[in-house]
């Protein structure tokens, strides 16, 4: 069991190196390690992340957006171990700046050849990267309903010009 764990862990670790450098920059330093390599089934999983020339001692010293991107790199590394048929991501792009949102969406687009993705978002760039959009609305107070949405019809205030459902 311990050997099986280590085999999966080494794969996840290799994935992390690849994904982190896709979301950050090629050549950035990062690693996934075990707090106690002698006792892998009981050990904690530690994350080391040093973007572009920086020297943070722990991931706590990274910025809000850098931390979120690092956590997403870990999630995607696990996903690559065993791609689930579908993934649901609820507003995980909120802390990211425009450039990082685009990197995030590019990696999802790549994975979407194998799995379906459902992205809950407020971010216009993320919306532009989807294949179809559903709008959730409360036309009646306190009662939700769903309408398909044409991205071009999204108004500035986040409400939708009504589209006749297909």
């Amino acid at each position: 069991a311990s050997a099986m764990f280590m085999e999966s862990f080494e794969k996840a670790r290799a994935n992390f190196h690849d994904v982190f450098r896709m979301l950050f920059h090629p050549g950035d330093t990062c690693d996934l390690t075990l707090s106690d390599p002698e006792n892998p089934l009981e050990a904690d999983i530690n994350i080391m992340a040093k973007p572009k020339g920086k020297r943070p001692q722990t991931i706590d010293q990274l910025s809000g957006g850098e931390k979120s991107l690092t956590a997403l790199a870990l999630i995607f590394s696990l996903y690559l171990l065993k791609p689930a048929p579908f993934c649901v991501l609820d507003e995980v792009d909120a802390p990211l700046d425009d450039m990082n949102v685009d990197k995030f969406n590019n990696i999802i687009r790549k994975f979407s050849e194998d799995s379906q993705f459902i992205l809950v978002t407020h971010n216009k760039n993320t919306m532009a990267s989807t294949d179809v959009i559903y709008g959730v609305t409360m036309a009646e107070e306190g009662v939700s309903s769903v309408v398909p949405v044409d991205f071009r019809a999204l108004r500035h205030d986040g409400t939708f010009a009504d589209i006749a459902p297909p």
Binding site: M4, S8, F9, A12, D44, I45, I59, D60, K67, S68, T70, A71, L72, I75, L78, Y79, L81, K82, P83, A84, P85, F86, C87, V88, L89, D90, E91, V92, A94, P95, I108, S112, E113, Q116, F117, I118, L119, T121, H122, M127, T130, D131, V132, I133, Y134, V136, T137, M138, E140, E141, G142, V143, S144, S145, V146, P148, V149, L154, G158, T159
Partner: protein, 165 residues
Amino acid sequence: MRLKKLELKGFKSFADKSVIHFQDNITGVVGPNGCGKSNVVDAIRWVLGEQRTRSLRLDKMDSVIFNGTKKRRSAGTAEVSLTFENTKGLLPTEFSTVTVTRMLYRTGESEYRLNGVSCRLRDITGLLMDTGISSDSYAIIELGMIGDILANKDNIRKKLFDQAA
């Protein structure tokens, strides 16, 4: 294995029957604050068998039932159905389309169905066992979990790893 659609009725803010088609590769879900987007995510977790009320943002399970507004009475039942296409025969069943349904009555009674036939929760989790789909999957992620992963709250990194490994 591909998703086809999600149907909600009486689930949280979805008082009336609503349908979302998930046929595409990447589906966006958008709308103003408080309109019900995260409730859709909760519905997916719930129909897959989520029992932990905290993961569904509730204090007790019957809080998933539409609790009424100034102009509408509360609902008596919450019902969610998730339909898959059994592409690649990943699911151990002869059906090409599989619909998982969960219902909760305000009386506290609970019902699960597979393709309309009453069954037990374990029949559903058994069916989905090797597909990577579960209510606590590493593949259902919301913003709060990002913070938990960074702080490694309740050893979440190990738990997510074990599901994916």
